[in-house]
Amino acid sequence: MTRSFRLAVVLLASLLLSGCWSRRELTDVSFVGLIGVDLEDDQYLVTFNVIAPKQAGQEGGGASQGRADVWSVTATAFSLDEAVGKANQLVSRDITLAHVRAIVFGETFARKGIAPALDFLLRSVEVRPTAWVTVTTGSANNFLEIRPRQERVPAEGPIGFNDLVQARSGITPARRLIEVANILQEEGIDLTLPLFRRADMKHPNPDGEEEAGSGARELIYGGAGIFRGDRLVGWLSADQARGALWSVGRVSRAALAAPCEDPEKRAVFRVRSSEGSVRTTVRDQKIEGEIRVKVVADLNESACSEQIVRGGDLSRAEEMLAKQVRTELTETLALLRETGSDYLGFGQSLYRRAPSIFRAHEKKWPETLAEMPVRIVVEAQVPRTGQMKQRYRAE
């Protein structure tokens, strides 16, 4: 009796004192898929992309097919949480941020610094630290009008692209919220965020007429935004942005087009794997940088008139590949020097090796970057040439 009574007390106490009362049913909340953050008259202009599935009975309202109803709710406030509160006055259900897939910063806001927004996003128990972070040219509010044709929910657009961008074409690192927070706190490395843009495309149907509907407002990949500290300082085009990935060895499956002897023709290599490292050393009081990249790629297409592959000798192909990687890195480096944003992390490498020297140069690091010599070492391997050795000729 006393034993079961004690047991009951322990159980009840652990249940009732836990504070687990926050019951919110699926149908009590409205899910937000994307958050856009802009600046308007020194206030946050926050856009929430609210998702509601199609009601039963509506056209295409089957359980799994059919696109969801999506609309934007905009609120202006001095803080993000206030904005959430204000947005709640415009939606009949409780706004929940648990399913935010991506956070989009508008250009003006990003140029003023994204750190203030991160406080709320990291502190919130709802927002996942694994949500993607992106920037857009123009306003995020405008960007959130995207209705990607292939996705049920626009929020899936950036997800698909991030996967594509990083893994498939190997252009720029996709960043999660927690990564962004970490990079901003680290010494000597700057942030890049993938850039997405809204593009109003026309989707003509087979008769040549333009299809009506929301499918036209697509999301396209535009390169990357480069940051100094938490401020946006410039843009990388899609081609330039790959440099950042080479240096951390995150390029895989990207297609590299290397010019032949005839500069208007190309040989294309498909990357299988890559390794990369950035080192900054001090020799005779001079700071020197080094980028080392090891790349393994297959020859996928060749339009060159010269023979790239001779018998089993692939050295010519390897040379071309190495040269192309070097070219990309050189371009990236030039941009890095121009903007003063150290997104390859030369500073970080120096800080780890010789913190005192980094501290001494910290104040004028962009100038140091612009002056210091950087060695680029590329090691390229072409293990395969696909199904053919020779170039295909129709004769």
């Binding site: 249940l15 019951r23 699926l26 599935p53 929940t96 648990a98």
Partner: protein
């Protein structure tokens, strides 16, 4: 049986006594027989029996005729004659098809077993079907059941003991084991527990489980029930004890541990890798049958962030306009399913399928179409049911049902937190149990690698010498249990 009138006087007083008491029953026959005189003295005998219980033909040829020829009563009856000493035994013997005989020159009442009851013949196992392996099952005849056991395990090591259960209407129970298998303490305990049963007219071994368990009322089964002789042999040769009961077509096996309830008869005869897979599967099914509805409810009411976005949207879409909150819906659907199951058990085989069609298809489909419930809810309840059906032990499936409802209530009020707490209670319950003193969760806790490998089918034979009996150290655990028992 000690307090009933004694039957050790001469024939006249016995006749008087029986005449006043048990002969009042319908169909009772009292028959006098003049016997050939012996050394000039006239002799006669009286026979008492119940007409319907006795094989009359044998009575005539094997008892009456020889007696008329001057032989001892019972000398031609194969089953040995017993001496009846009191009236209760007399009544018991008569009811069980014995013929009572007393001669005029004796003070002893003899009882001759002339019973010939009709029994069901050996049939295919009903609940423990198997694809491979033998397909004989026990019947209600105890001698037949024992003969099956002896035929399958014709070893001098097989021991069969009998115990009578009950006070005024004793029923015979039998414990069978292999010499050197169970410890003496286990045997002693089981005998004591059987003797302690005071209930009369026990009809089935199922009625003994409470009396034989270490803890009388548990949600987890601690005794294995089987209707297959081959399964009994598998366990008995492995050092377990089997309990049979007159008129019961099932046997009990003790000690039975948690892992044993995931063993199907087929497992003994199938290829091992396959057995490993199936056991793992059943274990998984058990772990699905308990918490699935609870998980669904907590995910849709408390932990909206736990699922991928698209799945959440699908769920949300289904739930739009659903009138009942998920906890109520889950409860209603689970109850409805239990009712459906109960209904299909009750109905005769010919109408059974109708219930599953009406209940399963029509109700399920209509419930979704009318917007009373979400399709996922139906899916969850059905998946749970199928998982429970895949368990070889129906008792364990019932256990899962109990805990399922418990966890559902906890999850409805407290989400994952309640679910976790409920699971802890289940675990605490499991780990506090024992079967004949052997820890119930063995060989997992206390952990024993080789036993565990055997239980998972990863080892062909049980660890050396131990059979699938709890290994020596488990037996030590059991000894400790009894010592603790004696001390308290």
């Amino acid at each position: 049986m000690g307090h009933s009138p004694r039957l050790d006087a001469d024939l006249e007083s016995t006749r008087q006594l029986i005449h006043e008491t048990i002969s009042q029953q319908a169909g009772f026959v009292t028959r006098e027989l003049s016997l050939p005189p012996q050394s000039g003295v006239a002799r006669w005998a009286v026979l008492w029996y119940l007409q319907a219980q006795v094989d009359v033909k044998r009575l005539e040829t094997h008892v009456l005729l020889p007696m008329l020829e001057g032989r001892e009563p019972g000398s031609l009856v194969g089953r040995p004659a017993m001496t009846i000493r009191d009236l209760d035994s007399a009544s018991w013997a008569v009811n069980r098809g014995h013929v009572l005989v007393q001669t005029s020159d004796s003070n002893q009442v003899l009882s001759l077993d002339l019973s010939n009851f009709p029994f069901r013949s050996v049939d295919v196992p009903k609940t423990e079907g198997s694809v491979s392996g033998p397909s004989e099952s026990f019947t209600e005849s105890l001698p037949n059941n024992l003969s099956q056991i002896r035929r399958r395990f014709p070893s001098p090591d097989l021991r069969v003991e009998n115990v009578f259960i009950g006070d005024r209407a004793p029923i015979e129970a039998v414990i069978a084991y292999k010499m050197g298998g169970p410890t003496r303490k286990m045997l002693k305990t089981i005998r004591e527990r059987l003797h302690a049963v005071k209930q009369d007219a026990v009809q089935d071994v199922g009625q003994l489980t409470e009396a034989l368990s270490d803890i009388p009322v548990t949600l987890f089964p601690t005794i294995l029930t089987t209707e297959r002789p081959d399964v009994v042999i598998q366990y008995v040769t492995g050092g377990r004890i089997a309990v049979f009961l007159e008129n019961s077509p099932r046997a009990l096996i003790m000690p039975a541990l948690f892992m044993d309830f995931f063993v199907s008869p087929d497992d003994f005869y199938e290829a091992r890798p396959f057995v490993t897979f199936l056991r793992t599967l059943r274990f998984l099914a058990f772990n699905m049958a308990i918490p699935l509805p609870a998980i669904y409810v907590s995910v849709t009411t408390y932990h909206l962030q736990a699922l991928p976005t698209l799945l959440t949207l699908n769920l949300l879409q289904q739930r739009q306009g659903a009138p009942l909150p998920p906890p109520v819906e889950a409860l209603v659907m689970s109850l409805l399913f239990e009712i459906l199951r109960e209904a299909s058990v009750r109905l005769p085989r010919a109408i059974g399928p109708t219930v599953s069609i009406v209940g399963g298809l029509v109700i399920g489909e209509a419930a979704i179409r009318s917007g009373l419930t979400a399709p996922t809810m139906v899916l969850v309840v059905t998946a749970t049911a199928v998982a429970a059906f895949s368990l070889p032990s129906p008792t364990l499936a019932n256990t899962a049902t109990y805990y399922r409802f418990g966890l559902l209530l906890l999850a409805s009020t407290f989400g994952f937190f309640g679910l976790l707490l409920g699971y802890l209670v289940v675990l605490a319950n499991l780990s506090s149990m024992s079967s004949l003193g052997v820890p119930y969760t063995a060989p997992l806790f206390p952990f024993q690698l080789e036993q565990m490998l055997y239980a998972l089918g990863l080892r062909p034979r049980p660890p050396k010498g131990a059979g699938n009996r709890p290994s020596p150290s488990l037996t030590r655990e059991a000894e400790r249990f009894y010592e603790g028992d004696a001390g308290s």
